[in-house]
């Protein structure tokens, strides 16, 4: 992909909700795209309760711009039972059930992968010890889910086709 097209794609990113309580992790995620577009389009929350507050526009998020994110990313430091519980809550809620959810897991075994997909995760990523590789994975994640993928209609912002003026 050309640099110009990457820049166009980055400037057209849709909103991402990143759930993780470890600053170093979400700072890495936000820093993975050099032009800062990801930072502008990403909301970071630290746990399940904050994530649900954001999604339902309540608590400290009651005045936020309405609409659902294009993707919810469950970071590697979210405990697995908590991640699965949040996933289950999203999939069982009529207003949230279509929101794409990506889970980042540390050393997931086959049963974890199977269980996550059966519970309705859209994608599962294995985290990596190498910071550079993790950053590359965050960049690829943002590019696909924030730009290439057409989010459900209830997501905030316009579909990709309209964001790019087609």
């Amino acid at each position: 992909m050309s640099a110009a097209l990457v820049a166009t794609a980055m400037s057209a990113l849709a909103r991402i909700l990143f759930v993780d309580d470890t600053p170093a992790e979400w700072q890495l995620a936000l820093a993975s795209l050099a032009d800062g577009a990801l930072m502008e389009q990403t909301t970071v929350v630290k746990d399940k309760d904050e994530a649900l507050d954001f999604l339902h526009e309540r608590g400290s998020f009651r005045r936020r711009v309405s609409g659902l994110p294009a993707v919810v990313v469950l970071g590697p430091n979210v405990r697995r039972p908590t991640a699965m519980s949040l996933l289950k809550d999203i999939r069982s809620d009529a207003t949230l059930r279509r929101v794409p959810v990506v889970m980042i897991a540390t050393a997931p075994d086959e049963e974890t992968v199977r269980s996550a997909y059966e519970q309705g995760v859209n994608s599962l990523i294995r985290t990596h010890d190498d910071v550079q590789i993790r950053a590359e994975r965050y960049a690829a994640l943002a590019l696909f889910w924030g730009w290439a993928n057409e989010p459900p209609p209830e997501s905030v912002g316009q579909p990709k086709s309209q964001r790019l003026g087609q």
């Binding site: 897991a105 992968v113 199977r114 997909y117 599962l124 290439a148 993928n149 459900p152």
Partner: protein
């Protein structure tokens, strides 16, 4: 070892097939891609039926699915795959020219993993395919049932023979390692 197919591309438009395969080859992210032309053929592939009865067992790492096809369309195929205990964990990405809200909604309601619109702008569509392939081939965790392939030399097969060029068998194409 039985080796799984990386990508099952379910697409009836020859032009769209050619473009997708060109991108995959350029990226060297798909050692092997199988193309079928409708949902019935795709189910035959998954179930090792019909002309796929002798293929190596194993599930694809990713299914790219056109939605508007003859015989069995993408929605019917998606519904069957996601209701099947054996196949429901295979990531399925809708790859379609439809950006109609009802189609997007219906696909997500049927548990599609992602929804990508074929852009009318060639460079944009190519970039979209690149983003898709890089993410789902290199970043997403392989689903259960996928059998990892041994690394291969770029010009030699495991037996030391030259890889053949892409074969076309009727509407079935195999993408050999790039």
């Amino acid at each position: 070892m039985n080796l799984s197919t990386d990508i099952l591309l379910v697409e009836d438009d020859p032009g769209d097939v050619r473009l997708a395969l060109a991108v995959f080859r350029a990226l060297k992210v798909a050692d092997r891609c199988v193309v079928v032309n409708d949902g019935e053929q795709a189910l035959d592939f998954l179930h090792l039926k019909g002309r796929f009865s002798k293929r190596p067992p194993g599930l694809p790492r990713l299914i790219l699915l056109d939605l508007k096809m003859p015989r069995m369309n993408g929605f019917e195929f998606l519904q069957q795959v996601k209701a099947d205990q054996e196949f429901k964990t295979i990531p399925v990405i809708a790859l379609t020219s439809s950006r109609e809200e009802r189609d997007v909604e219906r696909a997500y309601d049927l548990n599609v993993n992602g929804y990508v619109v074929k852009s009318i702008d060639f460079s944009d569509y190519r970039a979209t395919l690149q983003a898709l392939a890089k993410y789902w081939e290199n970043v997403n965790e392989r689903p259960p049932g996928f059998v990892e392939r041994e690394p291969v030399d770029s010009s030699k097969s495991a037996k030391g023979k030259e890889h053949p060029p892409m074969h076309r068998l009727g509407f079935l194409w195999f993408l050999s390692p790039c």
